[in-house]
């Protein structure tokens, strides 16, 4: 059921073959659990139910819009001077300097809708001139010094899953660009069990870390939808949030310390458990998106694997009632570890496009209770059984008082099973003439309803045309004492002539609207190139200047990920 609303801007394919991510991946759909599964394929890679539903909702005519074959992607010759290449080889070794077509294409841009549109059209102008594979803080630090001397731009590369143009590599001075791929720095370097701290390389991925921690009964618990591909260093550089962040905390909260190699030297930041020794410099590295240097090591907070995990579904009659209940949970520190409230559009589409016995049973249940689709809430509780029991019981009272009806644990279990499946479906939609993109924000509980209305109005205004209208589906996925996030999935019939312009117009309208209504520019995707024009509105021109002064000290030549985060 949760597949379509889960559609995100991350359209990864299998690791190591990122250029091919635009192709649908066989077996990418989650296994049928007999509850809520994808409907049968209609021949074009799309579930039949989704196809019919979307055609009706959007005024969309399905049509093949395949990507150009990889061999036809246009790639300019590498601009890396021979002497620079020689310096890199001397520093890192011959096998750590790649400038073949395959390596360069594999490090071109990220996974935003715009990134994918460009690459599907055969444009790889954002590919780096070479890919470097350093190993260790000292190599990275030496590399950054060298790039500073040579005037070579550095784009740090983790999982390549940025959805905001974080790998744009755009340089105003048009200098050569290298991607610094951190895959060789991907291991566990130390585990302090009593202090619940693990030291890892920045190129490590979540699944590998979870596997390593499981031996000691521990978990990190950070589960963004990009979990299969994104790296731990990338989470820190972009201030990621995961599906359990309401419970375990945002990635910011999980970083106890890190090493940041910069062109001016190495910073060791963070002093667990806590310090009052001046301003928090660790917080400057988190969210720096590669503009200050490269994160080369992380100390992360881990915790015991939960002894109890309980997921369940609830139904509210209205969005307002759902938000009010979540706010009440937040007020009393009763928010579940996972919380996900879908608005009426997301709930309706989820229920209709899902096949399987479970969805039919669920629809029947709702009808029997004389409820429309309403708003679906999925909650998850994790931890010690007695504590889970007490929290869940107290929270259930609040939900019931707020008019919610319990749907049971099958809905929750289904969500857990499908949680990483959606990006694969997205690729298939892109193959068939659709615009598919997401955006997200957060606001205080007081501002949240206004932000929701404003951003939806803006998107509908920008994407509605003769016989065409967008589908905008929204959910809250992260709750805080003071407010919550909003995650919006947008589908529309693609403008085949000006697809990039079509989305840029909608994105601009949505961003202007959400900022004016009191939302933040981004809750967990980061700034990248895409949000850069609004950063001064978010933190003020003087705030931007403060960041610039820090960058000037650490990266005086401006080689670290220019074109990202800081406005020109």
């Amino acid at each position: 059921m949760a597949d379509l609303p889960e559609l995100t801007v991350q359209g990864w394919g299998p690791s190591g073959d990122r250029v091919a991510t635009v192709a649908a991946r066989e077996g990418a759909t989650a296994p049928d659990d007999g509850v809520l599964e994808l409907a049968p394929d209609s021949g074009d890679g799309l579930p039949r139910a989704a196809r019919a539903l979307l055609a009706r909702e959007l005024g969309w005519t399905p049509r093949p819009t395949p990507p150009v074959p990889v061999r036809d992607i246009r790639l300019a010759p590498s601009r890396l001077p021979a002497d620079a290449r020689a310096r890199f080889v001397a520093l890192l070794g011959e096998d750590a300097v790649l400038d073949d077509r395959h390596a360069r294409l594999g490090h071109a841009g990220g996974k935003s809708y715009l990134d994918l549109l460009r690459r599907r059209g055969g444009d790889a102008s954002d590919a780096p001139d070479a890919v470097l594979l350093p190993d260790g803080t000292e190599q990275v630090a030496a590399l950054l010094r060298t790039c500073g001397e040579l005037g070579v731009v550095v784009v740090p590369f983790g999982g390549g899953t940025s959805v905001v143009g974080g790998l744009a590599g755009t340089d105003a001075d048009d200098r050569p660009v290298v991607a610094v791929d951190l895959r060789r720095m991907a291991g566990v370097r130390g585990l302090d069990v009593p202090s619940a701290l693990v030291t890892v390389g920045p190129g490590m991925r979540g699944p590998a870390l979870e596997e390593a921690l499981a031996a000691d009964g521990l978990t990190l618990g950070h589960l963004p939808q990009s979990w299969e591909f994104a790296t731990l260093g990338g989470y820190a550089a972009t201030r990621s949030a995961g599906q359990s962040s309401t419970g375990v905390g945002r990635f910011d909260d999980l970083v106890a310390g890190l090493t940041l190699a910069t062109p001016s030297g190495v910073l060791e930041l963070g002093n667990p458990p806590a310090s009052a020794a001046g301003p928090d410099l660790l917080g400057l590295a988190l969210g720096s998106e590669g503009t200050l240097g490269v994160i080369t090591e992380l100390r992360l907070r881990v915790r015991p694997r939960p002894r109890s995990s309980q997921y369940e579904g609830w139904s509210f009659r209205s969005w307002a009632a759902g938000l009010a209940a979540l706010q009440r949970l937040a007020r009393h520190d009763l928010l579940p570890d996972v919380v996900r409230l879908s608005d009426p559009d997301e709930t309706r589409v989820s229920l209709r496009q899902s096949g399987g016995l479970g969805a039919r049973v669920l629809r029947g249940t709702l009808r029997a209770r004389r409820r429309g689709a309403g708003c679906l809430l999925v909650v998850g509780w994790e931890g010690l059984p007695t504590i889970v029991r007490a929290r869940r019981s107290a929270a259930s009272s609040v939900l019931r008082d707020g008019g919610a009806v319990r749907l049971g644990s099958r809905v929750g279990r289904s969500w857990v099973r499908h949680r990483f499946a959606a990006p694969y479906l997205r690729d298939r939609l892109l193959d068939n003439g659709l615009l598919v993109e997401t955006l997200e924000t957060a606001a205080t509980w007081s501002a949240l309803p206004g932000v929701y209305d404003a951003v939806r109005r803006a998107l509908r205004g920008a994407l509605t045309g003769p016989g065409r209208r967008p589908l905008v589906m929204t959910h809250v996925s992260h709750g805080y004492p003071t407010g919550a996030s909003l995650y919006l999935t947008v589908l529309a019939d693609r403008d085949d002539d000006l697809p990039i312009q079509q989305w840029l117009t909608a994105k601009r309208a949505a961003t202007d609207a959400l900022l004016a209504a009191g939302g933040t520019l981004t809750h967990h995707h980061g700034v990248g190139a895409d949000h850069r024009p609004w950063l001064a509105q978010e933190i003020g021109p003087l705030g931007v200047d403060v960041l610039r002064s820090v960058k000037q000290r650490l990266d005086p030549q401006g080689i670290c990920n220019p074109g990202v985060l800081l406005p020109d």
Copy 2:
């Protein structure tokens, strides 16, 4: 019971008469609750039991060492030029510019042992040349611009309770100094109940805010020992922690946003509930200790007043067993909201110097169980009754498994009653020839025992002499998943000839030792002037340079609290 170990560096007297704080305050001792109270006075303002105990422990001969009378304190004439004074009057009004003796003395320095020693000796060389009372962000911003033009140093003044020389006002260029007292900006400016956010002026104090919030059933819950006098702006500027910080979070965690007026303009920082829009600039203002500007407004997270509050005492046979049990609680997210584990020295002295039936009963109980004094643990649980019950029950199992014996709720209640009383006792000790000071740090659970040993060894080495030895009492007062704080109270016979040198030597040895063992320079007191020499060791020379680059952008003339935080 908890009086003596509660001795802190804050020796405030009644508000508004800070110069006289060295005198004992009648009625400052907490009311006798029939459980654990101060023993009868022995005529010199000291409880008789404490007097005898300390004489024996320290090799100390009680002797009167009164402060010089206020009228004899030496104060140089104000150096504020007449034209600067006129500019300030034009900006703020005549009644907002004070340069009389009373006002200047009342804003001289903070409350560290060294501050008090100097003032007791009649030295007020750290007094500002004038005191300004701006009202509102615009006035503060204009004032800072003007001071930048005039070359007048600004020391922001909240409660005046710094214990690390945060109000030193030392300027390498010897420019005139004004204290900017924020008492006129001390009200609630807005309350957003659904979002649990209150907007306040920086000069507001905790008691006034709690009173204002109580009408809506809300609380902030930040309770440092300086609570009666310190201001909310000061908590933010110094990264304060309170007695309930394990539960409600450090003050950092309670600040959702703030306004920082700087000589270069005004910054609005923080975007609740959360954002990924670049590095966290709010974290640069927190802990900036007045070196970047003046905090002129705060948005703070509040919560419902707890429906259940349960405090109780436990006893461990050893420090190691107590630490191990706390670590296990932390591991399973079961730390109480208040947690305070005293080491054997602190426990022993607490029990012996306390009079009252309760202490006698407690001593009897421990004897009956064939336990020595051991280590006392006070825990407090707050929140919804069902959740408190579940957490307390699970935690009690862990404590019992760790060998602890429950002492009951009277011990806990007594601690709550006496929690703010100790600083008053300190003044009486200073009047009688004692050195009394505290220091604090934090470390990971793995490093904590080593830090504890190292810092005690250093203090004993520095303060032991013929027939004299220090008493060093320690407790853990803030627990985290990754580690905990250590709070040390040091008493020794004062060196009447070189009292300042005596403490500087001990402080230097202790700080070197705790840093070498893996502790942080300060867990919640801040850097100020006293910890400044070690900041580069804590955050690295490049980290210091990053802070300098931020300061250079916001305060190019270096007028904001020089001599504090950043090394020269």
